[in-house]
Symmetry: C2
Subunit: 149 residues, 2 copies
DNA sequence: TAGAAATAGTTGCTATGACAAATATAAATA
DNA sequence: TATTTATATTTGTCATAGCAACTATTTCTA
């Protein structure tokens, strides 16, 4: 293995790019006059795809942990964009769903988010995109299976 | 441009991989018996490379913002690994440097971090690594120049 | 079936990061 | 030189994330 992998801190690069992506999302949402963060958007978007799931399921599909989802849903409920209802099958869990207001927010923001995704891949090919996803997932798998000494 | 770019949320993938990387760093540091976070490590490592720089310079090279660097240096000073001294040339800024203790910490952790970097690139080539860095920086540039509508 | 173990969710604590406002000092300018 | 402007740093507030401890409920098991 070459030395550049050992000496270059790619974590810092990933970190800075991810923070810029999130910032651009936030600015775009603000410019649209909607007070929502990128993380809140992730949950709202997921609920739009699969309405009525539990917080636990939301946590799994968005790779977030339970306390984080709990707090973000709190905020979304306060804004009137989601609502919780106790699941009759399992009274420990909630069924979380979009309100009509929440649905409108998604409708407004979806095209803007699509535009943002396009911007990120400017000057790159579809192949670049596929390689990038593959490598990102490979790094994840490499660390996932690793047992710490 | 193909539609998969529009429908896949690569931000979520980057987010989950970055969080796993940080978790593995944290676990490795804990396993070594050293109470330090990945972000604190980034600053300590940078100080080891360029000792005596200002917080502002630290912020620039690590892509962090000033308040974050200020608070992390606070923590590192409390742990006795760094110290601040007022710069005689510019009395607004500090010269931040590693203490002897801080140097020892870096010495212990450097090989472990090199090992972690290798782990992340398991099953991948040096070329994969270069492509990845190139794409990550291209995404950054794409968003950097973008003016929000 | 009663008690133990597991699961869904919440809350408290700490760290990081973004933004805004504040202080102290330096640099530029009229 | 006096005043304005810019810069380095700090502090406050909020959002996200991880961990641990807690409650309520469900599932497993002796």
């Amino acid at each position: 293995m070459s030395s550049s992998i050992l000496t270059n801190s790619y974590g810092t690069l990933i970190d800075r790019t991810l923070r810029l992506i999130k910032l651009r999302y936030l600015q775009t949402f603000r410019a649209a006059g909607i007070d929502i963060t990128p993380e809140q958007w992730v949950l709202l978007d997921k609920l739009n795809q699969t309405n009525g799931v539990s917080q636990n399921e939301l946590a799994n599909v968005t790779f977030k942990n339970a306390p984080t989802v709990s707090r973000i849903i709190d905020l979304l409920c306060k804004k009137g964009w989601t609502k919780r209802s106790r699941s009759p099958q399992d009274r420990r869990s909630y069924s979380v769903s979009l309100t009509k207001e929440g649905g409108k927010i998604v409708e407004i923001l979806l095209p803007k988010v699509a535009h943002l995704r396009q911007l990120g891949w400017k000057n790159m090919s579809e192949e670049d995109h596929l390689i990038f996803i593959k490598i990102m997932n490979q790094i994840y798998e490499n660390y996932e299976e690793e047992i710490i000494e």
